[in-house]
C-alpha cells in the first residue's frame, strides 16, 4: 500500500468499498500485497468479486482516466489571504454537524499539501494533542500549518480553550521550525480568522505554562551541562596540581 498515513489507507478502503460493494476486509487483505494500481487495472486478481462489482471498478478506472485529462486533481489551493483560508475551511466543514478540529498542512508557497481531521467531538472535552500535530507536520514535510475547527450552529468567538490550544500547538511546532499561520473558526458559512483579528501574537508568544514534557527535557539538559562543567573544573584542578608538583 502506498499511503504514508494510516488514515488515508482507511479512508481509501472505506470509500472504495462504498462505491463497489466489495467488503472492507477483502480490500484490506488484497492491499497488503498489492497496490491501488493493481486494484484498478487488474480487478480479476481480486478473488470472489461479482460481475457488477467488477463493472463498478471499470467505471471508476475510466472516470479516473478521464478526470486526469482535465488535471483537476493536480490543482493546488493557495491560502494566500485570511479570506482564501476562511473560504477553503468553510467548504471543508460543509455538511459536518459534529465539532471537528482540522489541521491543514502547507508548503512555503502557501499551497495546501493536505487537510487532516485530527479530532472529532467536543474539543473542550477531548484535547488536541500537539505531539500528534508535530508528527503529522513533519511526516508531510510542511513549512507552515493552518488550524481550523467548527462551532456547529454556535458563535464564531474563540473561547479560552481555543486560545490555549492555539498557544500550545504553536509552541510545540516552533520547536521544529514550523509556523502556525492562522486559526480559523467556522460556523455555518461564516468564519473567524485569528490573524485577521490581530491574534497572530498567539502563534509566536510563549505559553503561559510550560508543558511538563518540555520542562523535564530542559531540566535534564541543564543537569547534564552542570555535570559536564563540574567535570571540566575537576580536570583543570588536577592538571594544575600536577604542574605544581613538577
Amino acid at each position: 500500500m502506498k499511503y504514508q498515513h494510516e488514515n488515508d489507507t482507511n479512508k481509501f478502503v472505506e470509500l472504495f468499498s462504498e462505491f463497489t460493494g466489495i467488503s472492507k476486509k477483502k480490500l484490506i487483505d488484497f492491499l497488503k500485497d498489492n497496490t491501488v494500481h493493481n486494484l484498478l487495472n487488474h480487478p480479476f486478481s481480486l478473488q470472489g468479486i461479482t460481475e457488477k462489482q467488477r463493472e463498478k471498478i471499470e467505471s471508476l478506472k475510466s472516470l479516473n482516466k478521464l478526470c486526469r485529462n482535465f488535471e483537476i486533481f493536480k490543482d493546488k489551493y493557495a491560502l494566500v489571504s485570511s479570506n482564501a483560508c476562511g473560504e477553503y475551511h468553510v467548504n471543508l466543514f460543509k455538511n459536518k454537524d459534529k465539532e471537528s478540529f482540522v489541521l491543514t498542512l502547507a508548503d512555503s508557497q502557501n499551497n495546501v499539501i493536505k487537510s487532516i481531521t485530527v479530532q472529532q467531538g467536543t474539543i473542550n472535552e477531548s484535547p488536541v494533542y500537539p505531539r500528534e500535530i508535530v508528527k503529522l507536520a513533519l511526516m508531510y514535510d510542511a513549512s507552515q500549518v493552518f488550524l481550523a475547527h467548527n462551532h456547529p450552529g454556535g458563535s464564531l468567538k474563540p473561547s479560552n480553550s481555543d486560545i490555549e490550544t492555539t498557544k500550545r500547538i504553536s509552541a510545540a511546532l516552533r520547536t521544529v521550525n514550523i509556523s502556525v499561520t492562522d486559526h480559523i473558526i467556522v460556523s455555518d458559512d461564516k468564519f473567524y480568522s485569528f490573524a485577521e483579528h490581530g491574534l497572530s501574537y498567539l502563534f509566536v508568544s510563549s505559553v503561559s505554562e510550560e508543558p511538563s514534557a518540555y520542562k523535564s527535557v530542559r531540566d535534564k539538559i541543564s543537569e547534564a551541562k552542570n555535570k559536564a562543567a563540574k567535570q571540566d573544573n575537576a580536570k583543570n584542578h588536577n592538571h594544575k596540581s600536577i604542574d605544581k608538583e613538577r
Partner: protein
Amino acid sequence: MIYKKLEEILGNPSDYVDGSKDKELERIVKLIADILDIEASALYPYFYQHGLSGIIKNPTLIESLHDKDINKLSNLFELLKLINE
C-alpha cells in the same frame, strides 16, 4: 508564428475540434451518474454551467441533488483524489 499567437490566445486548438472537451465532460458526467446510481440528466446542466473543477470544489452547486447524493458525490471526488495521490 500566427498559429502560435492564436494558440496562446485561444489555448490548444484540439480542445475545440468537435467539442472534444465537452464530449469528455459528457462521458465523465455519465460515469459519475452510473457510479452513484442517479440520472445523468440531473447532473448535466450544473456540470456545463460550473465546469468539472467548480463542482469538485463545491458539489452543493448541484441543487437538484438531495444531501445524501451530494455526500456521495463528495466522497467519490475524495476517492479519486486518494487514487491520484
